[in-house]
């Protein structure tokens, strides 16, 4: 088991990481941003979405966490977009056999994130 302490989810340091690990880092970063955006409101719906994202990341690889990057310019939807493109670019013949299912789950959650965003005042 290797730890993936990415300094910046989209920074050049992670470019050499394998695709799945990068996708996980993006998912984890999206989850953390949602948590931060809840701004201490313990009943915020954002925390629920963050939890679901974290679970999907754990399904893909339970040992990867992103380190908080204060310079990160991407938002949760953009991070999820990036993660989806990375997972979609992964050769179908490689990787864990159920990666397709996790990608589908992430795509569905991405839609929920976009819908949640559109409900903002």
């Amino acid at each position: 088991m290797t730890d993936h302490p990415s300094h910046s989810p989209a920074s050049p340091e992670t470019a050499c990481e394998d695709t799945v690990a990068q996708a996980c880092v993006h998912i984890d970063a999206a989850a953390r941003q949602l948590e931060a955006a809840a701004d201490g409101d313990i009943f915020s719906p954002l925390l629920g979405l963050a939890g679901q994202l974290a679970l999907i990341r754990g399904g893909i690889d339970p040992t990867i966490r992103a380190v908080v990057d204060p310079e990160d310019l991407l938002g949760p939807t953009a991070h999820t977009d990036q993660a989806l493109s990375l997972l979609d670019s992964f050769p179908p013949s490689d990787g864990q056999t159920d990666l397709l299912v996790w990608t589908l789950r992430l795509a569905e959650l991405h839609d929920a994130l976009v819908a949640a965003g559109s409900e903002q005042p």
Partner: protein, 496 residues
């Protein structure tokens, strides 16, 4: 709602027992035997196996065991797996204990001996009478009573088969909780037996007479135990297979989630991602509960004081659950969550989010078929709060054995640096954490378990009549709805 509790079934059975007074129809010996056998099965399953270990429990169990053992020659074995000691077998056969012992010694009755007592399989006992289950299509109150008690037997058997050891959440292993239910069953047995005496052919009247005497005597032996019992709250769920509307969807999603969460926690090495998700889902459940409580207060169904107190409790517990999920985030067992669980938790998240949205919309904007029945949803969430007590209690038992068996890992870089870890740290590896390093996690899981218990207790109290104090005098409520409501909508600058 497709939820039935032991209390619901007892209430229904008592109504049917009362209805016996109004019927003049004759009953057959078969109808009586069905009732007789079901009544015995229910008492047998309520009493359960003998207690071992705790002296106090052994003594208190002796009272209810004695009552069961006094049942006059039970017509059939309660279940094929049951075993009897010599005294119970004697009672079952209607002979003396010495006769049973003689039968065993002379190999007429198979038995095993553990050095202290004989154990006789129920299937080895000669069946005296063939007993048929009551006809479920019959409209006779005695048959309906037998069927209702039969369902109760199934519920008790299912509840007993659950492996839970949570104090206060295992009423079947607490004789103080079992005794009031036994008393109600015995009271119904007296009523049914007296009815049978008056309406059964004379040649078959001996048996109801013996049972009436037994049940009356047992009622006296059990004493004045009072009516309330935690056992009446034990519930059985049958969520709709094709749920329609938000309430049915919530019920189905909750049941599936709770069941799969239990299954995930029973894995040899559970996924910390699941444990974290359970804490997060608990927080979400409390959040939705708080919204519904606020709505209930606005509609005048809940007093201001009750709403405020429940809301505070839920907020506090949600914070504890959030802290717990943050703790689980720091470690991993490297076990991935099961797909079925992820599907169930996704459905639950969707269902809870839909309810949150609907509650926030003005009434006229919600399609009537999609409108949430707040009281039904609160009932479902109350049951979910009980599930959370179990899940968080089980979760609190996990960290220590996982750490001791070196199955709980964390990145070496976030753990205290030691000579052995230098290499792992430099290579960005995960290492097994030590017991002292898991102290915060252990603490958080225990806090989570405690918070879940407190919420469950508060929700149980809040449903009572005391909480529903009239709101009409509170036109100028001190706490406005806004204060009671959780923050609405999505917040945060430049969020999505």
């Amino acid at each position: 709602m497709s939820t039935t509790t032991v209390g619901d079934l007892l209430d229904r059975a008592e109504l049917l027992a009362r209805a016996l007074r109004l019927t003049r129809a004759e009953i057959t010996a078969d109808q009586w035997r069905s009732f007789d056998a079901t009544s015995y099965r229910l008492l047998h399953d309520l009493v359960g196996p003998e207690r071992t270990g705790n002296h106090e429990q052994i003594v208190s169990h002796a009272t209810v065991s004695r009552i069961l053992n006094g049942y006059p020659s039970p017509l059939s074995a309660p279940n094929p797996q049951a075993t009897y000691n010599a005294r119970q077998a004697a009672s079952h056969l209607g002979v003396s204990r010495a006769t049973v012992a003689a039968d065993i010694r002379e190999s007429r009755l198979p038995a095993t001996y553990d050095g202290r007592r004989y154990s006789i399989k129920a299937t080895d006992l000669p069946s005296i009478t063939e007993v048929h289950p009551a006809d479920p299509a019959s409209t006779h109150p005695l048959d309906r009573l037998s069927c209702t008690l039969g369902v109760l037997v199934d519920m008790v058997v299912t509840e007993r088969s659950r492996t839970t050891n949570i104090p206060g959440l295992d009423p079947l292993r607490d004789d103080a909780q079992v005794a009031p239910v036994m008393a109600r069953v015995l009271a119904m047995t007296v009523v049914a037996a007296r009815h049978a005496l008056a309406h059964i052919p004379l040649q078959d009247a001996d048996r109801p007479l013996a049972i009436a005497r037994y049940a009356e005597c047992s009622l006296d032996a059990i004493g004045d135990v009072g009516r309330p019992s935690a056992l009446t709250r034990v519930a059985s769920f049958a969520p709709p297979s094709s749920p329609r509307g938000p309430n049915e969807q919530l019920e189905t999603a909750l049941r599936a989630w709770a069941s799969l969460a239990r299954r995930e926690m029973a894995r040899t090495v559970p996924s910390t991602e699941v444990l974290r998700n359970i804490a997060n889902q608990a927080r979400h459940l409390y959040a939705v509960n708080a919204r519904l409580v606020a709505d209930s207060f606005t509609r005048g169904h809940l007093s201001e004081h009750a709403a405020e107190s429940v809301h505070d409790e839920l907020r506090e517990a949600a914070q504890v659950m959030h802290a717990l999920q943050k703790q689980w985030e720091t470690v991993t067992t490297a076990t991935r969550p099961g797909h079925e669980y992820v599907t169930a938790t996704t459905n639950l998240h969707a269902s809870l989010s839909a309810i949150e949205r609907d509650i926030l919309l003005p009434g006229e904007k919600v399609d009537i078929s999609r409108r949430v029945d707040v009281d039904a949803a609160l009932t479902d969430l109350r049951y979910a709060a009980t599930d959370l007590v179990e899940l968080t209690h089980a979760g609190a038992q996990l960290p220590e054995p996982l750490i001791r068996s070196e199955q709980l890992f964390a990145p070496a870089r976030i753990l205290p640096s030691t000579m052995e870890r230098v290499h792992d740290r430099n290579h960005g590896r995960y290492v097994a954490i030590r017991l002292t390093e898991g102290a915060a996690l252990i603490n958080a899981t225990q806090e989570g378990s405690r918070a879940a218990q407190e919420v469950q207790a508060t929700l149980e109290i809040s449903k009572g009549p005391i909480a529903a104090i009239e709101l009409s005098t509170h036109s100028h409520a001190l706490v406005t709805r806004r204060e009671l409501e959780p923050a609405t909508g999505l917040g945060g600058p430049d969020l999505l």
